[in-house]
Symmetry: C2
Subunit: 324 residues, 2 copies
Amino acid sequence: MAGVSAATVSRAVNGSGPVSIETRAIIDRVINESGFRPNSIGRQLKTARTHTIGVLVPSLKNPIFADAVNGIECAAKNKGYNVLLASSGYSTERESSAVETFLNSRVEGLVLTVTDEAKSPALTILSSAGIPFVLMFNPVKNSSYSTISIDNRKAAFELVCNILELGHRRIAMIAGRFSESDRSVERQAGYQDALRHYGIDQVSITEVGFENQDISEQINALHEAKNSPTAYFCSTDVIAIATIRALTQLGKNVPTDVSVVGFDGISLGEWLTPSLTTAVQPAEQMGEWAMKHLIERIDDDETVKNLVLPYHLRHGESLVAPSI
Amino acid sequence: MAGVSAATVSRAVNGSGPVSIETRAIIDRVINESGFRPNSIGRQLKTARTHTIGVLVPSLKNPIFADAVNGIECAAKNKGYNVLLASSGYSTERESSAVETFLNSRVEGLVLTVTDEAKSPALTILSSAGIPFVLMFNPVKNSSYSTISIDNRKAAFELVCNILELGHRRIAMIAGRFSESDRSVERQAGYQDALRHYGIDQVSITEVGFENQDISEQINALHEAKNSPTAYFCSTDVIAIATIRALTQLGKNVPTDVSVVGFDGISLGEWLTPSLTTAVQPAEQMGEWAMKHLIERIDDDETVKNLVLPYHLRHGESLVAPSI
DNA sequence: ATGAAAGCGCTAACAA
DNA sequence: TTGTTAGCGCTTTCAT
């Protein structure tokens, strides 16, 4: 140190107390010359505030989560918070261990998407830890958690009704593994609602892994059976793309031979061939809201909120009337 | 505390010293009952190790960076490191401030993509800070920095040669702003190399902002001029998609009326209509290698390395011979 | 306007 | 095998 006590430097750096013009000048000079950097760790330990939040998503390879994280990160920066990032790969074990790590790092809150809100070890840990968190994409079940989501069941219902209205009667659902996504479960419920609404018995649901790029075997099996589907309802856009790829490999043309519908509304979906019919979630805004709300809960201890955002259907070329 | 000293708990938790079976049992029990969590901040302050690395990319909305971050995050998790994430929006100011924040947080290293390695305030700060970092995507210029990249200039050269071979002579480049991306500069050099190689004088370069979704005005201007381009070479896939969109809005068909070529090889590019002709960078592996190498530099103080990975060209439907 | 002192939670050296 | 002590870098009373 050059000539002055640590307490004074602290006051100068943070503007947290009176410092004379001259001393301030000296301190500034010494800081520049010496390359001194205040150690956040020391401050964090003393103040018991880290200004850090944890963000946990299943995977960044799905643009829906990348967009959401982008929104989160921007909001965090604006509010002066840092972001610790982890991904779970749709595994509850990895969710739990990420949450443990975050908690040990004393994040002040979390924004996360879990596989299943209803039975999530990670959320159990979090609840008993007593720090605020916001669920993103997960449907509202326990309203004592803050959530931001859309009505997945209703959106799926509307989407499948659209398929039915065009005359399709054999509609298969390709769903992300239910154990890995409560969104998938909800969307499946919407699918069944729609079939029931039209008095259709023939339900066909195939679960696929989220990390699994190649689902051609499953699609092949569906397609070989007699009374093969005339339309596929996929629980995500990424799965819809994989489905279209698999169908194409089997020599089927989408949508001429068979229709495919997705869910999520990733922006590139509009530019696919064929463009995807899908339900659009405003991912980036969801991330932003989640972060803003989380910070309100931290700073102004705002109450728990459940926000269900509107979605909209995007009508693309991947869905047409069945050929027969 | 229940009956034992802090030092003993520390030894029990970390296995860093002898603890009798019985005391360990007691400690475990108390930890579970009380919900005690070791405070990483305290440990970090004491040990002067944070096991945290900073990751800085221009934007997560470009899948090339999302994929890279995904690779980074996985590698980090495997090695027991945490990831602090920030994005710069292609702004050097935001790069600098993110780096400052990281440094204050005492990250042990960084993986980052900067706008321009040659004149980056962020890198100046980093160099004088004396902590290891790895540049990702940025071309090798100063070999005293660790880097992972591909040969952008050569890839662009090959790509544009492909366009020329098909008979195109009026090829416009749509480039991400040079001041915001040294990759863009390199790719532009490759574009010029190719034109020169074919003895073509007509160079046409239009700079566009990376965050700018709508480039239809610029495309419109190019297209209205007489001798309008028969092919567009775009410095990224995202820009190529925006270009295709703009051309479509102008009533032009790609590739019938005009060809478009991208750069990056984002995986969705294969499923676009038309599928993109592009140069593929292995983003996820680049992220993984960057993280692994960084940790080697931290843990085993490995020397600086420059890895130039092979790329490959992907031939899609967006490029065909000129119509005329 | 400044300094002295205490303490945030932890670990490492030393003692017992 | 366990406890005591000291100190990581910071902020915050409380004095001066």
